[in-house]
């Protein structure tokens, strides 16, 4: 069998594994056709299907519930470093803005819903963990002039969750190792080596994510993707997408790209502005109610904003 033909057959078999509930009828036909042609044996055909099924399962990755537990632990590590702001009214307001945006996203539901928290730090930062745990610092709020600007920051973080960037920050060796163990029945026991290994891989995965969130940052491509998605989310929800430009200009003026937090983990605001320029033209309809939103922003976050 020539190499090109063999490759086409293998690709066909691999694609067949993308659907875990592939109709057995198709499997049977595919197997017998491949086998009956004489181009491959029945056992070769079956092994292609097995490879396809494995690929399909690996692509399924972590369940929403497993992402949730990862997100909880990443959040617990973040909250060991930063304390929550003790202001229930402010926390409730930020949750309202964030939940509106999440509801307009392509992943409006996560295992336990989206949750937002103001961190009591002067650092200018915003972070998101898998499962929908999203943080914004008091220092960042102080730079923002309006609810629409706050929405732009939160929309960027929701975009990271929707696009699965947190889970993608896990080293492939840790994720693959964890998925293999998750595929087994592991007893939750301190004497079970598999459980200890699973816990160790969980800890390593949490470290991979927190290191990316706090120190390394996502790739420039992921940040630009999240800006683009944020602009779309703002439009969908009825916020003025021009607010994303406002946020990036405020950041540019504030830190000039060199002040830790968002500045150290994100591309230069000027470059980000260039990337989204076409998407953030002011929307007259959204701008019409912007002043009313700005008023409640100032009322809800007294002494905490630039507005």
């Amino acid at each position: 069998m020539d190499k090109t033909f063999r490759l086409v057959l293998i690709i066909a078999a691999l694609f067949s594994g993308a659907c875990s509930q592939l109709d057995p009828k198709f499997r049977s036909i595919g197997s017998s056709v491949l086998g009956a042609t004489g181009y491959v044996t029945d056992s070769q055909a079956n092994s292609f299907f097995t490879a396809g099924e494995k690929l399909g399962k690996a692509a399924e990755g972590l369940t929403d519930e497993q992402e949730y537990y990862l997100g909880r632990s990443v959040s617990a590590v973040i909250l060991a470093q930063y304390r929550p702001l003790r202001n229930n009214a402010a926390q409730l307001y930020v949750n309202k803005v964030g939940k509106v945006l999440a509801g307009f996203s392509d992943k409006p539901e996560t295992f336990s819903g989206y949750h937002f928290l103001i961190l009591d730090t002067d650092e200018v930062n915003a972070l998101s963990a898998p499962g929908g745990f999203i943080f914004i610092s008091k220092g960042f709020l102080r730079l923002l002039p309006s609810e629409d600007a706050l929405a732009a920051v939160l929309a960027h973080e929701v975009a990271h969750v929707v696009q699965g960037h947190g889970v993608k920050a896990i080293r492939s060796s840790n994720l693959t190792g964890a998925l293999l163990l998750i595929g087994k029945e592991v007893a939750a026991s301190q004497v079970d080596p598999s459980f200890q290994e699973l816990t160790s891989l969980f800890g390593d995965s949490v470290n991979d994510i927190t290191e990316t969130l706090i120190t390394k940052g996502y790739s420039r491509g992921q940040e630009y993707d999240s800006d683009e998605y944020a602009a779309q989310l703002l439009v969908r929800a009825g916020y003025n997408p021009a607010a994303l430009g406002t946020v990036l200009r405020v950041l540019e003026q504030h830190d000039g790209g060199d002040a830790g937090g968002w500045a150290s983990t994100h591309p230069d605001p000027d470059d980000r502005l260039d990337e989204v320029e076409d998407l953030i033209a002011s929307n007259p309809e959204a701008a019409r109610m912007e002043s009313a939103r700005t008023q409640r922003f100032q009322r809800s976050l007294p002494g905490l904003t630039a507005g």
Partner: protein, 164 residues
């Protein structure tokens, strides 16, 4: 490779590729789906803030009636019909498992075992090894809740859209 063999290979590839790579199509074949989130609202219309008629729980089995624009029209075991977002459902049955302890023999390739893998017990072990990690604050963060009616009022008052 001859032209005949090439055409045959393309035909075979197409048959497999179009045979069901999307979860949605897979779900439609089985006509049965499960809730994969801790809870989800059964909506009266396919919109995120549409009024709800029931609260569905993790593992609840539903009959899939129709998929359209990211929303699944479903019927519950008690006969109630409504809509859930496609991100709330799995095309595999979900078996609830109270604890990760021991082997139940239910780990089939065709089911998802809730509570398996990264779960409460793994978190507890992680917390024991990382005493500075503040799970109490995470619990407080999760406890901040907004009533859906309050959220809709918030959206209307701010001139935002309400048809997510």
């Amino acid at each position: 490779m001859s032209l005949t063999r090439l055409l045959f290979a393309v035909f075979i590839s197409s048959a497999f590729i179009f045979s069901g790579a999307s979860v949605t199509e897979c779900a439609a074949q089985s006509e049965s789906v499960s809730i994969k989130l801790r809870s989800a609202r059964l909506r009266r219309s396919p919109q995120h803030w549409a009024p709800g008629s029931a609260t569905l729980k993790l593992g609840d089995s539903l009959t899939l009636l129709e998929m359209k624009d990211g929303w699944a029209k479903v019927r519950t075991s008690s006969g109630a019909a409504g809509y859930v977002h496609e991100t709330a459902i799995s095309d595999k049955p979900i078996v609830l498992k109270a604890s990760n302890r021991g082997s139940s023999g239910t780990s089939s390739d065709d089911v998802v075992l809730a509570g398996k893998g990264f779960n409460k017990e793994v978190e507890r072990e992680f917390a024991a090894q990382n005493p500075n990690a503040s799970f109490a604050d995470v619990n407080r963060m999760e406890a901040i809740s907004v009533r859906e009616s309050d959220l809709v009022a918030f959206m209307k008052a701010g001139g935002l859209k309400t048809n997510g």
